[in-house]
Symmetry: C2
Subunit: 251 residues, 2 copies
């Protein structure tokens, strides 16, 4: 596996032994085909047999790569979280690093755009947790999700650091809520030094609102209003920006 058994493996090749490389390749091919089926027919349209058939294998062969159909979906989940995070990063990177406002808006719009362009994928990531797709706590999928979240946590963190939004006076926060918010901050590594409860509360509120509007649109629960909800989304984004002390600007 590593550097040199005799010393023939000078390793200009990508990485790992030949075995490992080809294994990785087929593993990627499986996920690639499964992704296509996911896109085309939703999560329930992904089947080991169909994937195997498409790549000229038999279904049991896939069990050398994924322990079950659920495992395959979970691996897909991890990849998709990474893909989404990459899309968000790309959207951010297009703007100057100092433009926190623009970057945040751009990042949020990127999530919506990705969700609309990848409905089934979005549903797999953010839809109801079925008996299948159960990202166990330390699993790759769970970690990938955490990394995705980290992107936004970092952005919000900068808002706090820049002292953007005025934390509202909230004396009513119950002890239970405070404890949970603190747990949230700890788990996400949010607001390293200035993690005021109020700030966390504002961030979570915004995240919930954002989740709501995007899910509604992607899951098509407001389709009867209009097929294109961009205007509503932008209006929501404007509100959201105001709450965060961020200067809204049209896309």
């Amino acid at each position: 596996m590593t550097g040199d058994p005799a010393f023939p493996q000078v390793e200009n090749a990508p990485s790992g032994s030949r075995r490992e490389r080809v294994r990785k390749a087929t593993s990627e091919e499986i996920k690639e085909i499964a992704r296509r089926h996911l896109t085309a027919h939703g999560a329930s349209g992904v089947s080991l047999r169909a994937v195997a058939r498409e790549m000229g294998m038999t279904a049991p062969g896939l069990y050398r790569y994924f322990g079950s159909l659920g495992d395959l979906l979970e691996a897909l989940q991890a990849d998709l979280f990474a893909e989404l995070a990459a899309a968000v990063d790309a959207a951010e990177a297009a703007l100057p690093a100092a433009d926190t406002d623009g970057r945040l808006l751009s990042a949020l719009r990127a999530v919506r755009a990705w969700g609309l362009a990848n409905r089934a994928e979005f549903a797999l990531l953010f839809g109801p947790a079925t008996t299948q797709t159960f990202p166990e706590d330390g699993s790759p999928a769970s970690e990938a999700g955490r990394r995705f979240a980290a992107t936004f946590v970092a952005l919000f963190d900068r808002l706090i650091a820049e002292g953007r939004f005025t934390v509202p006076e909230e004396p009513e926060a119950s002890p239970t809520l405070c404890a949970q918010l603190e747990a949230f901050a700890r788990l996400t590594g949010f607001g390293g030094d200035r993690a005021s409860i109020g700030a966390i509360r504002v961030m979570l509120r915004c995240w919930v609102r954002f989740y709501g509007i995007v899910c509604m649109e992607v899951f098509q629960h407001l389709a009867f209003v209009s097929d294109d909800m961009e205007a509503l989304f932008e209006a929501e984004l404007r509100d959201l920006a105001r709450d965060l002390g961020v200067a809204y600007q049209a896309p």
Copy 2:
């Protein structure tokens, strides 16, 4: 079974011919069993064969009652919307008619409670629209959903009538958004006389926030924060009430 066979159709019996009654009964039994399977194993755990087996029938027999598995799920959807609406109505009815504030809070809490007590059912109603469960526009499921929404529309309507919340100055509403909001008001029969664009906007904003927090909890996307998110929900509800000019009161 009915009253008298001699000149028989005096109809003290429930309704319809005997045929129709027994048909209705088995139809209900099918849905009842399917509902149990839904509760136990999620939407993907509902199968015609299993339902049939449990009621001592064979699967093809069910096709006399539902055109397909998808149709059965859609019928379930309709029933579940009705059940949820009933739960909301009950929660409302427990309070005096004049107590608009209390009724609204109670109604919203009822939705959350129902969702938590019926996760899979909630997912079927509000989760991603799969290739299965596609409530065609005039379908029973779609109508049931509309009736459920109507409950809340009525409540918000009363808030407007009572002049509760001050519509924020929003000169930025784009023409597209205005058109869509008007379409929304028309389709839901919202705000008969005083349907100001701003009011509709406020209502939709609140609905989106509510949808977001409940979905997050029911779909278990904030489970890492805590297993019991009641405190967070109540905090969100407090904010929401403030925006609507509603007096928050603890449950």
